[in-house]
Amino acid sequence: METTHTDARPAAAGGNPWLSRPYLVRKKSRETADTFTLELTPPAEDGGFIFKPGQFNMLYTFGIGEIPISISGDPAKPETLTHTVRAVGAVSRAIAGLKPGSRLGIRGPYGAGWPVTDITGRDVVIIAGGIGLAPLRPAVHYLLAHRGEYGKIILVYGARTPADIVHRKDLEKWRSRFDIEVLVTVDRATGDWQGNVGVVTTFIGGLRFDPSSCAALVCGPEIMMRFTVMGLRERQVADNSIFISMERNMKCGVGLCGHCQVGPSFVCKDGPVYRLTDMKDVFIKREM
């Protein structure tokens, strides 16, 4: 695999990999009806950690359980840990119910992130669907902080309806910049939506970038990624320039529990970000 791998965290490696540390919920903001962004402060003796865009943590709510969630904050500000969570299951609902001042167990960061340092000099096309923007948000922060090192930067973001758009403030801020092209679309327009309507894939054909020297970073529902990959291939983007972030059931996050296995790899430690050439079977083989 050519994707960047995380260095094992000294604190986690060697010891009990299942031990998490209680982080303080400092701020909680609502993204949509069921999605929240939490800002967390590490315990005093911990001091936070450096992470790579695209990495994830295991989030533990007391007595309920643990789930893998991508880090959605700015990698240049590791003192604050940011996670964006959609309340869909027992644990994520419990997380959504946390109030500022309560504690959330954290262990990580785990997995391979977006290859931001390997794609310098190229155009970067970021395609996100729904809450798939959350794992890409650290990458956007990183790219903009190192803006001079990349060619064009294009962000295509699709949500089901205007009410499902996450990280709205960031999108507005990025759209006001001249060094990143931001295209937001919804599957179904509601209310006074004046913007684009249509799934993200319908816009790939019209994007202006250099397919021979680009990197595409894609995250969203698997079906959306599948069609996005088809659209990118039509634009002659090579598979080894396409990166996808996978979601699978994870219990340990460190390659010991077996749940996230997809063919030859474990998504938690070999992914979640994959170069498409290493994970293309998943779009061909059903129930792999």
């Binding site: 031990l19 007391f62 309920i64 219990k251 460190v254 749940h259 063919g263 129930e287």
Partner: protein, 385 residues
């Protein structure tokens, strides 16, 4: 892992009447002994202290989907193949405490449990099981992240292997070069030799600890004829093994047969009960179970064996990735026989035959794999991508 590989190899003879001296010497060294005992109509692994705790005189009859015990008049010690248990139940227990959490108001602390550090001896470990142990060692202790509880339990294990004399009908270790004779990874290896008038053990040392033990036993140096008699036992056992698994290009074949209709024919019989994953000595998948006390102040997280045959195993928001029995059987088989090579550089099967014996539908992975291998396949070429 605990075995010192540098000692001089020595071979001794121990009379069966003196077998208790071996157990005593092991216990004097501070090890509690676990080995084969009769329980619930099967030969299982549990604590034992006396040689009479062993299933003396018992044979087993195993077939696809069938396990029966037969009592004989001979006072044999190890005249049976592996039962439903494997050593993973001691090293990677079916339920294992990971951590505990205590809540005080809106804060909570997470504490690591006190780790047991038992000094155990495993008696009667078969060659296939030694290979299974080596596989778990690789999985749990060879990565950037390790299963610390496993490592601690594993480090001081004294292993007394037994070379197989009575392989079952479901065994196929010979085709995987994992038996029937133990070639390494033990402290002592025994061969039970029973000829007319003679009944004794040939003991081979495999470590300094093993040599030290032998020095305390009423043994005699093995003569050439003793060693030949022991070799005859394992070579005769090897000849009895009928089933086989051909691993040549198996990884590629299974990868290419992903969409083969034969998977559907297996799924028609598979009950997705997960028995095969429970009895398999190399299956290592686990889940985590969270519990709280009624007051809600104390929470525990326990690691539990999981099976890729359940719907929950691959559940993510929106549904299970593998919703059909077909996909779950395929996942199990291809992980063990194909992708294990990518992940751990070895085959995930050791040929012990447990999954065949304990499958209530009698599904035989050697037979199913052969059927997949025999079918012609077409290599799909993609345009260079």
């Amino acid at each position: 892992m605990p075995v010192d590989t540098s000692p001089e190899k020595a071979i001794y003879v121990l009379e069966t009447g003196d077998f208790q001296t071996l157990l005593d010497a092991v216990m004097e060294r501070g090890h509690s002994i676990f080995g084969p005992v009769l329980r619930d109509g099967a030969i299982t692994y549990d604590a034992l202290h006396r040689d009479t705790d062993l299933p003396l005189g018992w044979n087993d009859r195993q077939q696809a989907g069938s396990y029966r015990l037969v009592k004989t008049k001979r006072k044999t010690f190890f005249a049976y193949a592996v039962g439903p248990h494997s050593w993973k139940k001691f090293l990677h227990p079916p339920s294992d405490m990971l951590c505990a959490a205590q809540r005080i108001d809106d804060r909570f602390s997470i504490n690591e449990p006190d780790r047991e550090h038992p000094r155990r001896a495993f008696l009667g470990v078969r060659s296939c099981e030694l290979h299974a142990l080596a596989i778990h060692d690789k999985i749990f202790t060879d990565g950037p992240f390790i299963n610390e509880a496993y490592r601690r339990r594993r480090q001081d294990i004294l292993i007394i292997a037994v070379n197989c004399s009575h392989p079952s009908e479901t065994c196929f270790c010979t085709s995987l070069q994992t038996g029937p004779r133990a070639t390494g990874g033990f402290d002592l290896a025994l061969t039970e030799v029973l000829t007319s008038g003679n009944h004794h053990f040939i003991i081979e040392t495999g470590s300094a600890a093993g040599a030290e033990l032998c020095a305390r036993l009423p043994v005699r140096k093995a003569a050439r004829t003793d060693i030949e008699a022991a070799e005859k036992v394992t070579s005769a056992a090897a000849k009895k093994i009928r089933r086989s698994l051909n691993t040549e290009e198996l990884r590629e074949t299974l990868d290419q047969k992903f969409s083969d209709p034969h998977w559907g024919q297996i799924a028609d019989r598979c009950l997705a009960c997960g028995n095969c994953t429970m009895v398999c000595p190399t299956c290592f998948c686990s889940t985590v179970e969270d519990t709280t006390t009624l007051t809600g102040e104390h929470a525990e997280r326990r690691l539990k064996w999981d099976s890729c045959f359940t719907a929950e195993f691959s559940y993510i928001h929106g549904g299970s990735i593998r919703s059909s029995t077909l996909s779950r059987y395929r996942q199990w088989l291809t992980h063990k026989l194909a992708y294990w090579f990518d992940q751990f550089g070895m085959c995930g099967c050791v040929g012990c035959g447990r999954c065949i014996t304990w499958c209530p539908a009698g599904i035989d992975l050697t037979e199913e794999t052969r059927k997949l291998q025999e079918k012609k396949f077409v290599i799909r070429r993609t345009n260079g991508r």
